[in-house]
Subunit: 332 residues, 2 copies
Amino acid sequence: MAVTLKEVAERAGVSRSAVSRTFTDGASVSDKMRRKVEKAARELGYSPNALASSLTTGRTKLIGLVSNNFHNPIFLEVFDLFTRGLQDRGLRPLLVNLTDEVDPENSVRMLRQYSVDGVVVASSTLPPGFAKAFRDAGVPVVHSFGRSSSSPQVHVVGIDNVECGRMAARELVTRGYDKVAFLGGPEAATSTQDRHAGFMSEMEQHPHIGVNCSFADAYSFDAGRREMLRLLQSKRADAYFCGDDVLSIGVLSAILDSGLNVPEDIGIIGLNDMEMARWENIDLTTIHQPIRQIVSSSIELMVATLNEPDRYPEARIFPCSVVERGTLRPVA
Amino acid sequence: MAVTLKEVAERAGVSRSAVSRTFTDGASVSDKMRRKVEKAARELGYSPNALASSLTTGRTKLIGLVSNNFHNPIFLEVFDLFTRGLQDRGLRPLLVNLTDEVDPENSVRMLRQYSVDGVVVASSTLPPGFAKAFRDAGVPVVHSFGRSSSSPQVHVVGIDNVECGRMAARELVTRGYDKVAFLGGPEAATSTQDRHAGFMSEMEQHPHIGVNCSFADAYSFDAGRREMLRLLQSKRADAYFCGDDVLSIGVLSAILDSGLNVPEDIGIIGLNDMEMARWENIDLTTIHQPIRQIVSSSIELMVATLNEPDRYPEARIFPCSVVERGTLRPVA
DNA sequence: AGATGTTTTGCAACCGGTTGCAAAAAGATA
DNA sequence: TATCTTTTTGCAACCGGTTGCAAAACATCT
């Protein structure tokens, strides 16, 4: 079916090694030989079988790209950036969808069967133990958007979610809201937990301010909207910190539908600073998360780790900052 | 590094073939042998190398998933559905991002180097020739969301975009709009061209109605918004058929920002029926595209083609229908 | 027990490449 | 031209599996 190295060798009248060498950088081949081989290869339409060569070289250039975030549009950009960044470095992303999969074992086994050179776990919801399972299996791993830790067991690239929670809380406090609330993503998600923890820890400094918490069941527009419609039925706060912009936008839509106004009746602060947050009719005050930097740093770290597998684990944490727009009332 | 079949064979005191056979369905192995081998394999933590075996079996279970639609959130769902559907069948998606890549040759070469069993081109914008390049290279291919044709050269699964254009036009005509417009995605996208063609062909039946056309430079919220802001400066129509819901939603936001109302001042009809279209504060009248069916049918067709590579090319076209909500004025 | 039929097993060649090593070719030096 | 280096080339073994084939083991029947 496909043209093999042997056929090229025969056509060019040279040994198989010679052909192999002309297709391997840094191998010793004379110009004459190279020309002969390339001619034959061209005539036959030969291109080397990456999988066969991986057998001896031990490198497949395959990178497992593992995620369970398939509802937050931010992740479409994340996938875009990852796939392009990896491709630019000659690496190939093998996509693994972890939706409703809790146990890392299956993925670990599968990715090892395909001898991936490394794994990028791109998820803000998976626990650190997930990425660690890959490391324990001897596969280089980078956890992007993962939980930061002062003593990481695996490479982590992302933001300090706890600090973001505090930041949001401070912002609400400064504006003088007296009943605030946290509306997070899935409660099991590490990012939700951390943002929640940070938010609460800051609010503890202000015991006179009422605090409520609730959780949407996904990081998605609809989940945010549904949760807010529920909340509006009963108790309601002055201002909400939404664990993500998609939640915020869903929440915003729920509030407007109920005939209430933002920021007059209810204040909203989100997290991520997605493109839509900038639209005039949304104009969401939010915390900017530097997605591009996180992705490109993750890729660099991955590449570095491929060259130096025993590299000491590190956490790369990027700072976030509040982008003030129109969904919180002005500071008094 | 990884445990090999040979080591398992030695540990179990059997031949390599025996080990290979216990890990191959339908091979002849006695129960006693199987138990011995499985025990050794378990103790060593062995799992077979999929790439090595592909060398002899000729099957990698790798499927190239090729796309250039990384801005339309609908495609996040598409990727979700594809990855899960493929995984459920034991196939592995190798993701290829084609953004700013016009020539199929690179992708074809790359995917052949990785000996993918098949390729799914998931794109509403690539021309049929793109998918054909894979077929010509002897790789089974299914073009999802591709241009339908009565004599397809490759398998195509999707909708009839021309008919959708007509459908939208009829809808606007019925409502008695007298200046209508088409606001499409990138002009080079086949889906844009077809929706445009259908729209125009229907409008030709109604020469008294004014028709305008323009094109956003991507299928994204922002591109739709930008294009509409531009249009509002000058000429403006009574009603717009937007080539996609993301465009519609961007367009809607631009209209509202300009102090105009929908559907009173301007009518909008979209295409896709994405989740957000249902929100009360958006409430978009649109044409429903059956995404899940398209994806699952694509996967079925892919699997069928893997088993029968010379299968005669077919086009699977799913019907669309108008979902009436609140962005067009009622029929008089 | 012996003849016959059916499974199960191991041997060895193969899949499409790579690579250490030694022989051959080319280049440099005297 | 003979000798010594350096570069280029081919041989053969190997990467981690699969598989056709024939021998070995087991089961069945007289």
